[in-house]
């Protein structure tokens, strides 16, 4: 049986445990199935809405929160702060998600709590401006403070030994603004003024001081 054919059954939870495991393994290496599943999942979400059914008993909310409280860790683990803005495979606020049209969620926020908080603040700022890049594959979200994040929708992960580097043009000169490795949400290390251009190039691991190649994409605020 062709494993691609399991997408509909997977989205409907109609696979047995064995088929489910097999499909999930396949999913990790099949972009076409992931895309198809994305569409089917939104349908199954709609089927959930259409289910009807009675309202939950009021005690359920408290039951859940009580249990959560009892499992709550006393200390949120803090890890050593990273020097470069590492892209998380996604925090997303109202602005970014509405703009993205596809869901991204927190992959890991434990790496750098301050950066995560900043991303959250930018993306959920109702007054943030959103600029599409020229190729339509990323969006720049700029908070009124000038803090900005680039939401990269489609991009192959950087090859070994390489990073994507962010640039902000100041008076025609490209200033480095951080590196990232894969699609997701990258926080810019420089503030953006209206009219400035942001670009991304592929550079050697860790980034360089001046761009060496043509920009992969650009956005002008």
């Amino acid at each position: 049986m062709d494993v691609h054919e399991l997408t509909a059954g997977y989205a409907l939870d109609a696979l047995d445990a064995h088929e489910r495991a097999r499909y999930e393994e396949h999913l990790s290496s099949c972009e076409a199935c992931r895309e198809e599943l994305e569409g089917f999942w939104s349908v199954s979400g709609s089927l959930a809405v259409a289910a009807g059914g009675p309202a939950p008993p009021a005690r359920l909310r408290e039951r859940i929160l009580e249990q959560a409280r009892s499992e709550r860790p006393n200390v949120v683990p803090l890890r050593p702060r990273r020097l470069r803005p590492r892209v998380l495979s996604a925090v997303a606020g109202a602005a970014a998600v509405a703009a993205l049209g596809l869901g991204l969620w927190a992959n890991s926020l434990s790496g750098d709590l301050d950066a995560a908080e900043e991303r959250l603040a930018i993306l959920s700022d109702p007054n943030a401006r959103i600029v599409e890049t020229a190729n339509g594959e990323a969006q720049l979200v700029v908070a009124p403070t000038g803090k900005a994040a680039l939401v990269v929708r489609k991009l192959a992960p950087a090859p070994a030994g390489k990073d994507y580097e962010l640039w902000v043009f100041e008076n025609g000169v490209a200033k480095p603004a951080g590196v990232f490795e894969e699609p997701g949400i990258a926080l810019l290390s420089r503030r953006i003024d209206p009219g400035q251009t942001v670009a991304v190039t592929l550079e050697r691991d860790g980034g360089v001081n001046a761009p060496t190649g043509a920009p992969l994409f650009t956005a002008t605020t």
Partner: protein, 194 residues
Amino acid sequence: MRRRDLAHLSDEALVALVSRSEESALGELYDRIGGVAYGVAYRVLRDEALAEDAVQEAFLGLWRSAGSFVPERAKASTWILTLVHRRAVDLVRREQRRRTEPLDGAPEPADGSAEEAAWLRLERERVQAALASLPDQQREAIELAYYGGYTQSQLAERLGEPLGTIKSRMFAGLSRLRELLAEGTETSAWTYTS
């Protein structure tokens, strides 16, 4: 964090907060999604206690693992409902409850309607209308699978059809629903209650 502060956040931002053990964010997500979650769990399980268990386990799963989400591509609300539905299906298969019970249509919501946002009611009607417009065999396959908790192999046996036929019906039905539901609304705003 105060509820007022959470109201303007997206579901995805709330999930990010949940991953940092922000309890009020979990409560806010429950307030947004818990009703639909319980509704679908009840539809599958036909039992209040089991439906509560399914919802509770799914939300606690979210609480424990929000920080390690695999970024597959769905909205946070869809992802949470997927957790709930899967849990419900696993429970129903274990309980084998529905084997002896008729599978009727969507029950009328009991007393949630008064509080329920009008657009949620509209969205439900829209999806039900889309389902109703499918060819009977496709609708049957989707309803038995999603609301009945049957595996595709069990469906093939129950309906006396080859497995390939069942898979084709589910695929065709979901594809058609995707088209029908994409018309008109680009964003389903039902989780944004602020």
